[in-house]
């Protein structure tokens, strides 16, 4: 193949007889010949006709072969244009000069056609090899640019999706490489309609675009369901089912999902395959590990997926710290892992909570860790509910079809109570009434409170006084899960009634349950305190609605919301 491709070969030789002889030899071997009688002519000929290979006499008038070789190599740039020096030079010093000037080989006089042919062939191989290397390098560079551009576009699109959340809220601090997405790291945060905050730190298997594509549907589900008022369990189920459906088997997403409730002062946690997170109690200094209890999202079928969460009380100022495995899996030069122990040493040495991220980064540097761009950390602190302002929801409909005079009754029975959360549906229905949209947060909080009171204290018969202290708090949620799973009978009824009042209107919500009821009068006598873990629900309901009352021994709650004419 190669010998069939004729080359264009420049012969630079001042001796006319040698030039003629060499031209004949080269031509007979099937190549095209250019000739030059000195170095300057050779450089000019190279400039104009770009031969593939040069046979160069060392000693020539006007410009010698060394200088001509240097100039030709300069002109050739990255391309390999082999230069074979024609020489009867025998001194090693002179041969070294040829190499220094850029010569690739020598041919001694008298010329031997067989050796010359072999040398031309060998040099041509080198030349082609270099050309291939350059071509492939350029190809790789093009692919790389292409990839970076794809990542830029993907990142821009993704940032639009991700930034619909509330990562900029004053209680969130995070640290993430701008391109963490392409290492599979994902951080999302959003307010629920009730003003709770959902936070997700996820880590997809793999790298690059494959790791990033799963982030899109996950973020969509997270934001969509959080905004509609779904709880962690429903959101987790939906995320798991979606990832299971769309991702290949070897791809999944480790994730920790939090629901921070500023009103209840608690955090609900689900950890599937992420490293331990930490719940830092500022009062005691304790850092409670939030251990992974589940398989990652996208592994189990919807039937076997476990959405059970844990709930922990928090005090104002307490923090939840989550991290990706990039932190503890950072390696030093000897392939030693940074590890959990070193992380906990950093915790132990930490005096100023706000300096923690910096201290962890410093510890990673001191450890001699190779810099990784999949190190993600997030810290969420519990503020007073009033310190946060969830963004107002934006509605796109005109309001012409707003329903203003209607009522509806629901009865949710045992099998439904076990697995269905009706609140998002109820809220969506109510938000069709434009006058209620301005108070959607309060509306949702009250609905959520009444519903969970009816379910937990009514149907499940749980005693809210259990939640007096932290261990009782955990016990309470454990019992809740157990009783719900074993539930056979019982119901929660929700009655909604909307009536016009002048240019505004009024909503009456009644929630009834099949439980034993409670001494509402006694609970209501207690002041509107916001400190204790138990009994908060009722005071919250009273704060947020126009009027709230209980009847039927506490089994039936009634609240009213009203609104004035819309501007």
């Amino acid at each position: 193949m190669q010998s069939l491709d004729p080359l264009t070969i420049l012969i630079a030789e001042d001796s006319a007889a040698d030039r003629m002889l060499l031209s004949s030899i080269v031509r007979r071997q099937g190549h095209n010949v250019l000739t030059a009688a000195n170095g300057a002519e050779a450089v000019e000929s190279f400039r104009q006709q770009s031969p593939h290979l040069v046979l160069m006499d060392a000693m020539m008038p006007v410009m010698d072969g060394f200088e001509a070789a240097r100039q030709i190599k300069l002109l050739a740039g990255e391309n390999l244009v082999p230069i074979i020096f024609l020489t009867s030079l025998t001194e090693s010093e002179a041969l070294a000069r040829c190499l220094e000037a850029g010569g690739d080989d020598f041919l001694a006089k008298p010329y031997n056609p067989v050796i010359l042919a072999a040398k031309i062939k060998a040099m041509d191989r080198l030349r082609r090899l270099q050309a291939t290397v350059l071509q492939q390098r350029d190809l790789i560079a093009r692919h790389h640019d292409y990839l970076l551009n794809e990542q830029r576009v993907a990142k821009a699109v993704f940032d639009k999706v991700a930034h619909s959340g509330c990562l900029s809220a004053p209680n969130i601090r995070y640290l993430q490489s701008p391109y963490a997405l392409f290492n599979g790291d994902l951080l999302l945060a959003a307010f629920t309609p009730a003003g709770d905050m959902h936070v997700l730190l996820g880590d997809f298997t793999g790298h690059g675009l494959p790791a990033a594509v799963g982030a899109m549907p996950l973020a969509e589900v997270f934001y969509g369901m959080t905004a509609k008022g779904y709880g962690l369990s429903e959101t987790l189920r939906e995320m798991n089912a979606k990832l299971k459906r769309i991702l290949p088997v070897d791809m999944f997403c480790c994730a920790t999902l939090l629901c921070l409730s500023f009103q209840r002062r608690s955090v609900e946690v689900w950890n599937g395959g992420m490293p331990d997170g930490y719940l830092h109690s500022i009062a005691t200094g304790e850092r409670k590990p939030l251990t992974p209890r589940h398989l990652p999202l996208g592994v189990l079928s919807p039937q076997t997926f476990n959405d059970r969460t844990e709930v922990f009380p928090m005090a104002v100022g307490d923090r939840v710290f989550l991290l990706s495995d990039g932190v503890i899996d950072t390696c030093d030069g000897n392939e030693q892992l940074f590890g959990v122990d070193r992380l906990q040493q950093v915790f132990a040495a930490n005096r100023q909570p706000d300096a923690l991220f910096g201290e962890i980064k410093q510890a990673l540097r001191d450890f001699g860790g190779k810099a990784r761009d999949d190190v993600s950390m997030v810290e969420v602190s519990l503020l007073e509910a009033t310190q946060l302002t969830p963004p107002a929801l934006v509605y796109s409909d005109s309001g012409q079809s707003c329903p203003l005079d209607w009522s509806v009754n629901f009865e949710f029975r045992a099998e439904t109570l076990k697995r269905f959360n009706p609140l998002p549906y109820l809220l969506q229905l109510l938000l069709e009434v434009h006058g209620l949209r301005a108070q959607s947060g309060a509306l949702y909080s009250v609905l959520a409170e009444l519903y969970s009171n009816a379910l937990e204290h009514g149907v499940l018969g749980l005693d809210s006084s259990l939640k007096r202290d932290a261990s009782g708090f955990a016990r309470y949620y454990q019992l809740r899960n157990e009783r719900l799973e074993g539930l056979r009978d019982g119901f929660v009824r929700v009655h909604l009634q909307v009536t016009p009042e002048g240019k505004g209107g009024c909503l009456v919500v009644r929630v009834e349950d099949s439980g034993k009821g409670f001494d509402a009068a006694r609970v209501l006598e207690r002041s509107l305190d916001g400190v204790r873990l138990s009994g908060r629900g009722i005071s919250l309901v009273r704060q947020l609605s126009r009027s709230a009352s209980w009847s039927d021994d506490g089994r039936s709650a009634r609240v009213e919301f009203s609104w004035e004419a819309l501007a």
Partner: protein, 115 residues
């Protein structure tokens, strides 16, 4: 080898390579050599002498002028070492050797033309 004027094996190889260009090659070498000799007789400096001797050596060896190539090599070495004593004698020897091989090349040319 050095006492031989022309190497017949080289000549037949040259004829094979050059084919119809062989007589022209012989002419070119003769003309080339006269130009080199002109420089050797009156060099401007040692470098010019050395370069001319070097080039003449190369083409002589290509053309099978064994003794001429040997003498040129000798001259090149002396010029390089700046030992100018005996240089003129050496140039005269080269002159003499060329006077011997020149008619041999011309005869060779006639022979090849008559083939």
């Amino acid at each position: 080898m050095a006492d031989k004027h022309l190497d017949p094996k080289v000549l037949s190889a040259l004829q094979e390579v050059m084919e119809d260009g062989y007589p022209e090659l012989l002419d070119t070498f003769i003309a080339d050599s006269e130009e080199r000799l002109r420089v050797l007789r009156k060099p401007e400096d040692a470098t010019q002498l050395m370069n001319a001797a070097h080039s003449f050596k190369g083409s002589s060896s290509n053309m099978g002028a064994v003794r001429l190539a040997h003498l040129c090599h000798e001259l090149e070495q002396r010029a390089k070492q700046k030992s100018l004593a005996g240089i003129e004698k050496l140039v005269r020897e080269i002159d003499g050797e060329f006077a011997i091989v020149r008619p041999l090349y011309e005869a060779e040319k006639q022979r090849s033309l008559s083939e």
